[in-house]
Symmetry: C2
Subunit: 341 residues, 2 copies
C-alpha cells in the first residue's frame, strides 16, 4: 500500500497580485481590471496578464472579488434530496443550462441547512428553489433581501410574487384520466396521491376530479389513497385489493408510484392492463421499461430546468423576469392503459 497523501501544515502559499503585475509589466490595478473584466485594457495587455497568471499559478481571490463586485458566477440550487431519477434529470438540465449561461451551480441538498445559508449574497448570485421545500417566511425574506430567486414546480404564494416555472399538471391529469374513460371504458379509477404540500400532487388530483366530473362519474373517496413513492403505492394498492375495493384502473400521481402499484397488482395476481389499467405521470426514463410499458404524461423536466435558469439569469442581469411560466404536458400512450393489446 502506498503511504497516505498528506498536505503539509501551514498556510497555503499565495501568489500576490503584485508578482503577476511585475511579470506582465503592468500595474496591479491593470491585473485587477483584466481579472474582473472591468475597465479598459488592450487585447495585448490582456494576453500578457493571462500568460503571467498561468505561469505563476495566480488564483484570483474570488471571495474578495465577490465582496467588491457582488457577483459570484454561481447559481444556488436548493433540493430536499437527490435520491430520485427525476431529481437527477432536473439537476442535469439545470447544470447544463447554467453552464451555457456561464454559471456554476451550488447544490445544497441539506434539508437541515436554512435557506439563508445558501443565499448569503456572497455565495451565489441567486437561487433556484425546488418544490415546497422552503417556507413562505423564508421566501418573503428573499424578496426583502432583494435576492434573485425562482421557484420550480411550485406557484409563488399570492403575497410572495417570485417568478415560478410550473407544468400544466391539471390538464395533463385530465387528459390521461379522460383517456382511461373514453378509450378503455374505465369508470372505477383509483388515484394515488403524493404529499399534501406538493403542488404537483394537488393539481394532478384536481385534474383527476375534473375529468371524472366531465364524464359524470362521482369521486369515490375510498379510491383515493396516499402513494407518495413506490413503497407507499405498493402498500396502498395491496390494501385496496385486501379490502375488495371495486376499481378497474389506477392513476398514480408519479411514475414511481405507478411502478409500485403495478408490482402490488402482480403480487396479488391481478393482470395489468387486462383487469386493471395503471397509468402514471412524469414520463421518467424508466417508464418505458416497465412491463407493460407505462402510459403516462410527459412533464418536460429539461424544459423546467432550462426556463428556470433563464428566468433567474434574467433576474440577476436585468432585475426583471416573467412572473409565471407554465409548460405544457403531453399524454404518452403505451400499453399499461390497455392500448395496443
Amino acid at each position: 500500500m502506498s503511504p497516505p497523501f498528506t498536505i503539509q501544515p501551514g498556510p497555503r502559499p499565495q501568489i500576490r497580485i503584485e508578482e503577476v503585475a511585475k511579470r506582465a509589466r503592468v500595474s496591479p490595478a491593470t491585473v485587477s481590471r483584466v481579472v474582473n473584466g472591468r475597465g479598459k485594457y488592450s487585447a495585448e495587455t490582456r494576453e500578457r496578464v493571462l500568460a503571467a497568471i498561468d505561469e505563476l499559478g495566480y488564483v484570483p481571490n474570488t471571495a474578495a472579488r465577490s465582496l467588491a463586485q457582488g457577483k459570484t458566477g454561481v447559481l444556488g440550487l436548493l433540493l430536499p434530496n437527490i435520491s430520485t431519477e427525476f431529481i437527477s434529470s432536473l439537476v442535469r438540465a439545470i447544470a447544463a443550462s447554467a453552464a451555457e449561461a456561464g454559471y456554476d451551480v451550488l447544490l445544497s441538498v441539506r434539508p437541515e441547512a436554512p435557506a439563508r445559508r445558501l443565499v448569503g449574497r456572497h455565495n451565489t448570485d441567486g437561487v433556484l428553489i425546488f418544490g415546497h421545500y422552503v417556507h413562505e417566511a423564508d421566501l418573503q425574506q428573499l424578496i426583502h433581501q432583494k435576492c434573485p430567486a425562482v421557484l420550480m414546480y411550485q406557484s409563488s404564494p399570492a403575497d410572495v410574487p417570485l417568478p415560478s416555472v410550473i407544468i400544466k399538471n391539471a390538464s395533463g391529469a385530465r387528459a390521461i384520466v379522460g383517456h382511461l374513460i373514453e378509450a378503455h371504458a374505465r369508470r372505477r379509477i383509483a388515484f394515488l396521491h403524493g404529499v399534501s404540500e406538493s403542488e404537483d400532487s394537488t393539481t394532478r388530483a384536481e385534474g383527476y376530479r375534473e375529468a371524472l366530473a366531465e364524464h359524470g362519474i362521482a369521486v369515490d373517496p375510498r379510491l383515493m389513497r396516499r402513494g407518495f413513492d413506490a413503497r407507499e403505492a405498493r402498500a396502498a394498492t395491496l390494501a385496496w385489493v385486501r379490502e375488495g375495493a371495486d376499481f378497474d384502473a389506477i392513476f398514480a400521481w408519479c411514475d414511481h408510484a405507478a411502478a409500485g402499484a403495478m408490482e402490488a397488482l402482480r403480487a396479488a395476481g391481478k393482470r395489468v392492463p387486462v383487469e386493471v389499467s395503471v397509468v402514471g405521470f412524469d414520463d421518467a426514463p424508466s417508464a418505458r421499461h416497465l412491463e407493460p410499458a407505462l402510459t403516462t404524461v410527459r412533464a418536460p423536466t429539461d424544459g423546467v430546468g432550462y426556463r428556470a435558469v433563464q428566468a433567474l439569469v434574467d433576474l440577476i442581469q436585468t432585475g426583471k423576469a416573467e412572473r409565471r411560466i407554465e409548460l405544457p404536458t403531453e399524454l404518452i400512450v403505451r400499453r399499461s392503459c390497455g392500448c395496443d393489446l
Copy 2:
C-alpha cells in the same frame, strides 16, 4: 398574463451584526462567535442569538467569513459535461455523501473554465476531479497551492501524488471477456474502446488483451475500433458488418456503446446473442432494460462518489488521505452474452 416580477434597483438591504447583537442583548463579538461556531458561549446565549438572527433575517456574510476562516463548507466538483446517465448517478452519489458530511457541492461543468477558477481557496474547501479532465500542470498547481483535491476514475500521475479513487477495470474486463470465451466459446471478440485519454477505457483494453492472451487468442487489431458513445459504436459496428469482418462477440468499453452496437447489429439483421454476443461495462441503470438484457460489469458509481467525498473530507479536516483507493467490480450476467437461452 401577470406583470413581470422585478427587483427594485439599489443595494440589497443589509441587517447588520450590531442589530442582531442588540436584539439578543449580547455583544457583536458574541454573535460572531455563535455564527462561526467558535470560542465560548452558553447554550442559552446561542439560543438567543439564533432567535434574533431568525427574527431579523440576518444573513451572515459568508464571503467575509470565508476570508477570515478559510472555510466555505463547499466541495467543488469538476465535470467535463453532465450529459450521461452515468455522470448523473455520480453527481447524485457525491451530493448525497457531501450532504451527510455537512458540505454543499459546487458543480462546475464548464469545460472552458480553468480549474483554478473553481479552486480559488475562498470558493471551496477542496475539489473532486472527474477523469482526465484537468491537465497535469493544473494538478501540480493544486498541490503547490495546498488545495485538497481527489481524483476519480483516474490514477494520479507519478509526480502528482494526489489521492485517487478508481475501479478495478482490468480485472472486470478480464472476467467478462473470459466469460465469453469459456461459457460461450467465443474467440473472435471485437472491442469498442473509448477516447485514448480515458483511463477507464485504456485499462479495460488491457484486461481485454490479457483475457485473450490467457486463452491463447491473438489480438486482431482489425477488431479494435473506437466507439466512445452509442453513436460512434453504431457506426463502428456497421463498418465491421459492411467489411465482412469475422467476429462472434463485441465487448464495448461502456454500456452506452454496447447499446449502440446492439442497435447496429439489429439494423444489419444479425441476431444478438445467437449470432453475436454483446457485452458492456458499468451496469448503467438502462443496461437491464436493453433487449436482450445486457451482460456487463458493475462499476460501483455510488461507491466511488462516497469514497471520494470521504477522502476529500479527510484531507480537508486532517491534511491526510489514503493515496489510492481501488474498488472491486463485479460480473453481471444477463442474456446478451448468450446465457439463459
